[in-house]
Structure formats: structure tokens, C-alpha cells
Symmetry: C2
């Protein structure tokens, strides 16, 4: 049995090791580690159930350090648990070390990268929800966060979600050390202020002295005993605890203590305590079948189908064959058509309401538990979750996102609802895949491909119906494209995707009637682009005209360049994109107004080829 | 005196007009307008103080319809107030009409575009804060929002901000109609659930029957009498109120009622009531001096200064000369250096804590009140506010944003803190200006230029010190660039910005020592780019090598193309950018690892020019 005295000693060791690691690195957050050391000591020694030799054990608890800057504390704890050596601890923040300034899943015991504050709890909710509704396993989710980050709205989306879903398997420990980076927080040591807020959102709350290990232990035990709601443990702590030079001092954030030797002496010197972390109970891993045959829906060429509908139908079909597929939506499933999945697989559909950060975070949490999530909302509103998507890439997460209502083509609803920046946002995400289909069969195939992908996969869908162009057996590899019009006399290549493919075809046919031949390339894979096809088109026609229902920056027009940035000759380029601020109008009026409809394409081709406009 | 009966009648007229406008448009949100009609009637007739003939009247109240999809209600109210005609009302959602699907400041009585939910309150807080701390005027801010949107974390950032600042001049009316787009909200008609949450955040709360005009009137009066905190009026309403076919029915969201004539009859037919909106008291406009001479700080070439420091110093200096300049920060002012402004102008500095959506929204609110806001945080964390930036562009807002700690050059802190996607994000914003200085004098000049700009202006600053390159009298127009190395024998142009300018110079000098001449262009204006200089460089050297501390997508490499998308010949392109997932390392190690340091540039130049590498 670990005594309270041992726990206090363990906390001191964590502090000493945090001081040592940051001083050795001459960088890093010593004081933020020291405030939470006793919380971590109690968790490790008494409550966490985790097999460090088997990080993928399905019964393992999940511990998320939302205040990722306190990574020295986490690493110190792992050292005590025997997961890393003291030698490795002292590689903290060094080039090549996996002990980064903020923890990432380069380390097998880290579920999710933190360091952008306000993300640990939202992701923790996703894991806890999976535990409750999918895995039916008794693992617990522990999130350790700072007080400053409770200003982030993302946390309140998570409080609401967890409270509503009554996630009793989730415990939040808040290290209320009173001091943010710049100075005092809004509520300083007013634990009641935080407790009132959390309780209002349906949480059980406990207030403790965060340096009283017995009190922390009792709080964690109490939390585990609450069966109908999540618990927030609000712990009053002192930043830099134990070292007079920095304890509860402003200006001591984000740096080593001024004199490490003195600090270590003051903390009672180095110790070599080990902690035996309890292992989870033996369990059968949750089912995560992959690769089961899925019968995708198909459509006949000429049918009028919106790609968002094809998304919904394909996703529902995918769910028939694959139990790992889950769908999440931001209260617009009737629009994104993820509702089709919800109808067929209600047990694997997660309504996240109008809270896009929590939507993406929940999906991140689900993939930690081995699921293949598809999260959807309007493309425009995914901008709300940009930081979560960015951090999901740092987390090496495997995630599918679908944004509907792309571009001005949505029509009357106007610019607030139009996704016009989403391609730029998703292209810039590390390791992302960006897909933008123009017809239903293409959409369905791409949805299936996404499910087997890696990294962040984004699918852009359209509101309005469009004719099916491709046969049901056509294949659409990621990184591919489709040549829809070509001849030996092509004088230019129109590169389009999504709604503009249809406009490009109309323009090409119109031009062909006048004897002007242009190629039409459907660049449905915006990232990676089909460099081979683009190079071929460039060589054959010398000019690429891109046309996209997106802002001119960061979208299709920029994407084609990905094939030409290695010093090879670059074709001439003409770009048609949305440079106006749209208002309300019908879809066809919007495309005309933005200068991306068939007439605009034909006119731009004629201008470029110096051909007279038709009467 | 307007009687309760008149108010109820006015509400009915609003409903009739919402039915008429949406039916005429065959599109739009009738039922969401109808639930809030009585709230709007009471506001217009009894509480709003607003001069429709003088929308810029400094004493006007501000009314923000956060549930922007209920625009027919707003337009119906304006019709009753005589601001628009019935004829114009029926142009709703038509091509060319200023009565868009969601309200935008194309209309003189709209402060801010809404339609992306959860933005009205955050912006309203910014206005109320300006009223309280800057204008010292007795105007009130009224925000009308939906219940669904209370799931957005941005609203809770705003609740926290307003509660903490005790903004008694702010009243939120929540139209609790129980139904979201897809179906029931989490809390349906549980007004207490919302009241508990708002009260926990320090708000006064009142629960009313949202169809009882006397009760609404009393609540608004009570709100105006509360002097130490903001008030939330939680109004229980019925969506589609007054028309049996849609009232409180699922599936009736976002569309006209099925039978308009029947509905109008059921609502008692058309009326022609007018409403006399009270005018604000006469007042003296708040001071908003512009163009006052500002003595910018200067530095001597060779000094080592971080551009973030130059930002802070320039901003503080700007504040000396211009009373309209205000600064806001997300609790990292010691890092972004906006703290320099805070020290010198504490009355015009606004701490927004770690809540980036609220940070940007507050800035949007301040510019509505004629201020010139500069809002800063880490570049990485501005992704948190992407949707607010996007909507600020729709709002035609005039806004300065500064993102510090750009790129891998920050060093040990790792990828969570590195702005690597910010250029892509800001370039894609409509009408934006994107600036990325490499030295202190350049930074200061650009900060001054930003203050006089239009639209969304973004400045990207660096953490580490760099030598001052330019003299204190050098000018840096937006849309310009600086040629730092050039000769008649240049065989290639290196295009750089920010930290890579210094690396490019070192590479050029190294290559020159081997007799290989390359041009170096400092493209500090990433948007708009200096097309003239790029064309000239292309013509002279035939190849542009871009090097940037940013992801390869959407940043500098893509930006240079903005000069070549009109069908003219395009030079050869070589792109160096951050394609790796960085870990922790020192700044120089990070640049080397990412392949964007001087050695990498020189090597890429040699490869491109087919020159052997040096031993």
C-alpha cells in the first residue's frame, strides 16, 4: 500500500525531475509541472490502470495531459513507472528526442498531442463516449488541465457534451495554480467559480487542496464512485510549489527555475522512487473489423444526384460492412446527409450539436479507440475546428471529415454558409488528403477510399444535384484524375473539380462546336494531385486553365502547381475562382456572378487563345 | 403608448411578413422568424433606441441578430420602422437584393454579418466593452440568439468575458424554441438549464414566456435596471408560432410554410402597423482621431531584434499618436509583445484571456465602434478563430491581426506552438492583406501601414532575434518587395520572407563566393504580391525558388503564382517549405531539419542550376 507520505515524496520526486529536465534543456515549463505534481503522483500510484508494456491494451485507462506544456511532469511520472530511463528524461526538448516540449503520440503512451490549450478535455470526451457507447469497457478517462485554459470555449463544448451524455467514466482534474502565462487568471483561486460553471453543465464537482495527497486520493475515489455524471476535481495548487524563488510568482512561467541545484536541495534532493501502476483487468479487445466487403451504392449516368446525398448513402453502406465506421455530425445531418447513416446505424451515430470543435475532437477520441470516424458539417463551419484539425495532424490521427455546401453554388443562403476557404485550410494540413468529387459514383468510391486512408482525409461535397458522369464501375484512386474531354487538337486544358467539372464540360462542348478543342481534366484529388496527368496536359496543351468554386488562394489553382515546383518548365496558367463577395442569388446566378460558369470558362479560353468571342 | 395588444399585433405582422417574404423567395427561414417575433416586437416598440435615418449615430443602440437565418424577422421589423418598403421586403434572397438570406453590413443598419451561429454574442461583447470602457456612452447592446447556438463554445467565451467585465449594458435574448435544424435541442424547453449556465458565468437571468409581450417588456425593463452584470432573457417560444401546419413541428426548419395564403389567414391577415423606434439622446460623437503624426521606433542595421518586439514597440508608439488604436491579446501579451502597448496605454488594452474566438470577436466589436483594433496571439492559435476571421470579411470589418511565433524557427516548443498554416488561412480570406516582415524597421512601417488599411490585415512575426537589414528611412508599401541581392549575372531568384530572408542572403553570399549569382527578393507583402518585381525577376532569371517557414500549401510558394495566372509565361519554380512534422530542437536545427536554411537553399540552387555541390 502506498502511503500518503510516499505519495508526497513521489510528488517531490516529480518536481525534482521536472527541475532537472528543464534545467538540462535550458528550456521548458518547470513551474507548471510543479503545481500539478501531487495530482499526478496520486493518479499514478492509486488510480490509473495502465500497462506501460502494452499501450494498446484495450482495457487501459486514458490519461491526457491537456496542459501539454507541463510535459516534464508527465515524463517524470513515466520515469517513476519504469517506462523511460533517467537518461532519456534528460534528453527532454533535444533534437531527435521523443520527449518533446509538448507530448505527442511519437510516444506510445500518448493518445493525443497537446499544447494547444483546451483540447484535452474535448478529445477525452470522445474517448469516454467510445468507452460508454461502443466498447462497453470499464476503462476511465483522466484529463489533467490547467485553469487558464478553461477560458477556451472548446472546453465548454466538452463540458456540455460530457454532462449531457452523463459520462461517469470521465474525470477532469484542474490544476488551479492561479497564474497563467502573463499573470493571474480571471478567477485565480476561486475554486467555487469553476465549480459553479461545471456543476451548471451537469458535472459532479469536488474542491480540494491540490497539495494534500490524501484529499486528492479521496476525490479520485469519490469520482470513480459517481455513476451518473462526469466529475471535475478542482485542485487549488501553487505554481512552482516547493521552490521559494518561483513559487506563486509572476514571471516564472515557461522557463527553468533560476538555480536548479538550490531548487533540488530545497525540494529535498533527488530520489529514486518507483511507482507500480496498476494494470487493467484482462479483457477481450473490442471488435474492430476492417476490410469487410461493402456493397457501395451506384447510380446510372445521367441521374441527377447531389454529391452530399451520395456521401450519406455511401457512408451508410460502408457502415453495413464495417463495424469500425462511426459517424458524427454538428446538428446538420439532414443537410450533410450523414443522417442516412444515423437512420441505419443509430448506435454508431454521434450527434455533437452545433459545436464543431467538439465534433472534431470527439472524432479524434473515437479513432484513438480504433474507430474510423467520419465527421461532417457544412464546409464553412469546419473552419471553426481549424486548430483541432491542425493538432489532429500533430497527433498522427486518422480521421475523415466531410464538408457539405461548398462554394457559391449553394445559392440563396449567402456567404456565411458558403465553404470558400476550406480547400486552402485542408491542403495546408500536414499529411492531409483533399478530395472534391463531381458526381455520385465518384463520391461513393472516394468515401470508401477514405475509410482505408491515413492522416486527415477531407471530402468536399455540394448541395445541389448534378448529373452522374461516371459509370458505377469506374475507379477513382486517391491521387488520380479523369480526362473527360481530349483530342489531338487540344489547345488548352481546363482543370476543374466538383461543380465546375460540369461547367467545364459545357464550355468545352460549346467551344468544340466552334472548332476550338480543349481538354477537360477532373482533378477530384486536390491533394495529392495527379502530377502525371497535369504534366501530360501541360506538355500537350501548354496552358492550364483552372476553374474552382473557392477563393483564388490555396485551392485548385494553387494545387495544380504542386506538380511543377521541382524546377521543370511550367505551363501557362489561367485561374478562374471566386473573387467577389457573393450575396443571395440562385445557384446558376451565383456561378455566373463569380465568373466560374460555362460561359465564363469559354470566354476565358477564347481570350487566352486569342479567338474572337461568338456573337 | 404602445399597448400589449398592439405589441402582439406587431408580432403577428412580423410573422405574416416573414411568411410572405420567404414564400415569395421560395426559400428562407419562416419558422425561426416566427418564434422570435414577439421578442422583436417588444424590442422595437419599447426598448431599442435607434435612429434609422442616422445609422452611424454614436448614441444608437446595437441590435445583433445572432440567429441570422431569421433575417425575414429583422427585415419585417425594419419595414414596420419605415426603414425599408414592403416592395423591398419582397426582394428577399433575390439576386442583387441587399436583403440577403443572412444579414450583412451591405445594409446600413447591420453591424456585423451573422449566419455562422455563435458569433452575435461574442461580437456584442466587444461593442458593449467599447461602450463601457472607451465611449462612455449609454447605448445598450441587444443580442437576439437561438437556443441551438448555445452549444457553440464561442458563446461561452463571450458569457465569461461579459460576466467578468460586468457588462450591464449588454442584454441577450434567447429564443428558446426547442427545435434546431435537425430536431430537438439538448435542453429543449428547459429554461433553467440555460439560466443555470448563464448565472454560473456571472449573468443576471430572467425566464419568460416568449409570446407574452408584457412579460418580455418587463424583462427588458428589468435588464436595463441591472447595473452590475449583463442579463440573459430566456424566452420559451414555439417555432413556427401561429401556424398550425408548422408550429413546434420537426422538419419545418429552413423553408417557407407549405401554404402561405392559409398561414397568413391563420395569422389574422396582413396588417400595416408601423412602429416608432425611439431615437437615442443627443450626444457628442466619441473621439476617433486619425492620421495624427506617429513617431515610429527605429533600429540601426545590424542590431539583433525580434520582429515580435518591433511589433510591440511600433504598436505602443502608434497608440501615442492615435487614440483610435486599441490592442487585444489572448493572454500571451508577454510573448506577442502587445504587452508593450498595454504598459503604455492600459486604458486601451483588452485582455481576452485564452479565448481566441472571443479575442477576434471583441476586435470586430471595437471596429464597429470606430476603433482600429490590433489583436494578437500566437500565429498557430489564430486558427482557433478562423471562422470569426472568415465572417469578419463578410462583415466588411476593418481589423488588424498579428500572429507571433511563426514557423519551425521558434525552436524547442514543438509543432503545437508553430504557426505553419497561417499564411494559407489568411491568404484565402476575402480582401485580406498578408504581411510577413524580416526585420524590425520593416515591421514598424508595416504596423503603421496596417492601421490605415482596409479589410482584414494580418502580420506574421517571429520569435527569435534577427539582424536589422533595412535603414530606418526605408519605406515598405503594402504590395511591395525589396530586392536585396541582384546583379546582371543572376541565374535564379530566391524569393523569401521573414526568417528565410536571412537564410537566403547567407545562401546567396555563399554561392557568390563560388561565382554563382542569384537574386534575393524579400517578398514581405505576401498578399497582395509585388507582381511587377516577380515578373521582372522571372524575366531576368527564368526561375523562382521560394523558401518559407510554412507548409508548402497556400503560403509564399503559392503566393508568387498570383503574379502569373493570367496566361503569361510562367518561370520555372522550385519550392522549399516545411514538409516534415517537426519535433523539439533548437531554431537552427529546426531550419536545417525542415530544409529551409541557407545550406538547403544553396544546395537547391546548385541542383537547379546543375552546378556541382561544394566539397
Amino acid at each position: 500500500m502506498t502511503t500518503d507520505l510516499d505519495l508526497a515524496e513521489l510528488g517531490q520526486q516529480f518536481r525534482v525531475d521536472a527541475v532537472r529536465a528543464t534545467s538540462h534543456a535550458a528550456s521548458g515549463h518547470a513551474t507548471s509541472s510543479m503545481s500539478a505534481a501531487d495530482l499526478m503522483a496520486v493518479l499514478m500510484a492509486r488510480h490509473l490502470r495502465y500497462d506501460f508494456d502494452w499501450p494498446d491494451h484495450p482495457g487501459n485507462d486514458h490519461l491526457i495531459l491537456s496542459k501539454g506544456h507541463a510535459s516534464p511532469l508527465l515524463y517524470a511520472a513515466w520515469k517513476a513507472a519504469g517506462a523511460i530511463t533517467d537518461e532519456e528524461l534528460l534528453t527532454f526538448r533535444e533534437h531527435g528526442s521523443r520527449l518533446e516540449g509538448h507530448p505527442t503520440p511519437r510516444l506510445p503512451w500518448v493518445d493525443v498531442a497537446t499544447g494547444s490549450l483546451g483540447q484535452g478535455l474535448p478529445v477525452g470526451v470522445g474517448i469516454a463516449l467510445a468507452g460508454r457507447r461502443l466498447d462497453a469497457l470499464p476503462y476511465r478517462v483522466w484529463v489533467l488541465c490547467g485553469d487558464s485554459e478553461l477560458a477556451e470555449g472548446s472546453n465548454w463544448e466538452a463540458f456540455e457534451h460530457a454532462g449531457y451524455e452523463r459520462l461517469a467514466n470521465l474525470t477532469l482534474l484542474v490544476d488551479v495554480n492561479r497564474l497563467g502565462q502573463r499573470g493571474p487568471t480571471r478567477h485565480e483561486w476561486d475554486l467555487d467559480a469553476y465549480a459553479r460553471r461545471a456543476a451548471a453543465f451537469g458535472w459532479h464537482t469536488i474542491e480540494v487542496d491540490g497539495h494534500d495527497t490524501a484529499a486528492i486520493d479521496a476525490a479520485c475515489t469519490e469520482a470513480a464512485g459517481v455513476t451518473d455524471r462526469p466529475t471535475a476535481i478542482l485542485a487549488r495548487t501553487r505554481k512552482g510549489r516547493g521552490v521559494r524563488a518561483v513559487e506563486d510568482q509572476e514571471g516564472a512561467h515557461g522557463k527553468p527555475v533560476p538555480d536548479a541545484d538550490e531548487a533540488i536541495a530545497e525540494l529535498g534532493g533527488e530520489r529514486s522512487l518507483t511507482v507500480e501502476v496498476a494494470k487493467p483487468a484482462a479483457t477481450t479487445a473490442p471488435r474492430q473489423p476492417h476490410g469487410v466487403h461493402t456493397e457501395l451504392p451506384t447510380w446510372s449516368p445521367g441521374e441527377e444526384v447531389a454529391t452530399r446525398n451520395a456521401y450519406g448513402e455511401a457512408l451508410a453502406a460502408l457502415g453495413d460492412g464495417r463495424q469500425d465506421v462511426v459517424a458524427l455530425d454538428g446538428e446538420v445531418s439532414d443537410s450533410t446527409r450523414s443522417g442516412f447513416f444515423a437512420e441505419r446505424h443509430p448506435d454508431r451515430f454521434f450527434e455533437c450539436y452545433i459545436a464543431e470543435q467538439e465534433l472534431v475532437a470527439t472524432a479524434v477520441g473515437m479513432q484513438i479507440r480504433g474507430r474510423t470516424p467520419f465527421a461532417s458539417t457544412f464546409a464553412a463551419f469546419l473552419t471553426r475546428a481549424h486548430d483541432f484539425v491542425r493538432m489532429a495532424a500533430v497527433s498522427r490521427a486518422s480521421l475523415n471529415l466531410a464538408g457539405s455546401h461548398a462554394g457559391v453554388a449553394i445559392g440563396e443562403d449567402g456567404p456565411s454558409q458558403m465553404g470558400l476557404e476550406d480547400l486552402a485550410m485542408f491542403r495546408s494540413v500536414h499529411g492531409s488528403t483533399v478530395l472534391y468529387p463531381c458526381d455520385a459514383n465518384q463520391t461513393a468510391r472516394l468515401v470508401a477510399a477514405m475509410a482505408d486512408g491515413t492522416g486527415i482525409r477531407y471530402l468536399r461535397t455540394s448541395r445541389g444535384a448534378a448529373p452522374v458522369l461516371y459509370g458505377p464501375d469506374e475507379e477513382f484512386p486517391v491521387g488520380g484524375s479523369k480526362l473527360l474531354r481530349s483530342s489531338d487538337e487540344d489547345r488548352l486544358t481546363v482543370v476543374a473539380a466538383g461543380v465546375t467539372v460540369h461547367e467545364a464540360l459545357a464550355a468545352a462542348d460549346d467551344l468544340a462546336a466552334d472548332g476550338i478543342r480543349v481538354r477537360v481534366l477532373d482533378l477530384y484529388s486536390v491533394k495529392p494531385v495527379d502530377a502525371h496527368a497535369l504534366l501530360e496536359a501541360a506538355e500537350a496543351t501548354g496552358c492550364l486553365l483552372t476553374v474552382e468554386d473557392h477563393r483564388p488562394e490555396g485551392g485548385l489553382g494553387d494545387a495544380v502547381l504542386d506538380a511543377f515546383t521541382d524546377g521543370r518548365p511550367v505551363p501557362r496558367l489561367v485561374r478562374l475562382a471566386v473573387t467577389t463577395m457573393p450575396g443571395s442569388a440562385k445557384p446558376a446566378e451565383q456561378l455566373r456572378e463569380a465568373g466560374i460558369d460555362a460561359a465564363a470558362i469559354a470566354a476565358a479560353v477564347r481570350r487566352q487563345l486569342d479567338e474572337p468571342a461568338t456573337a
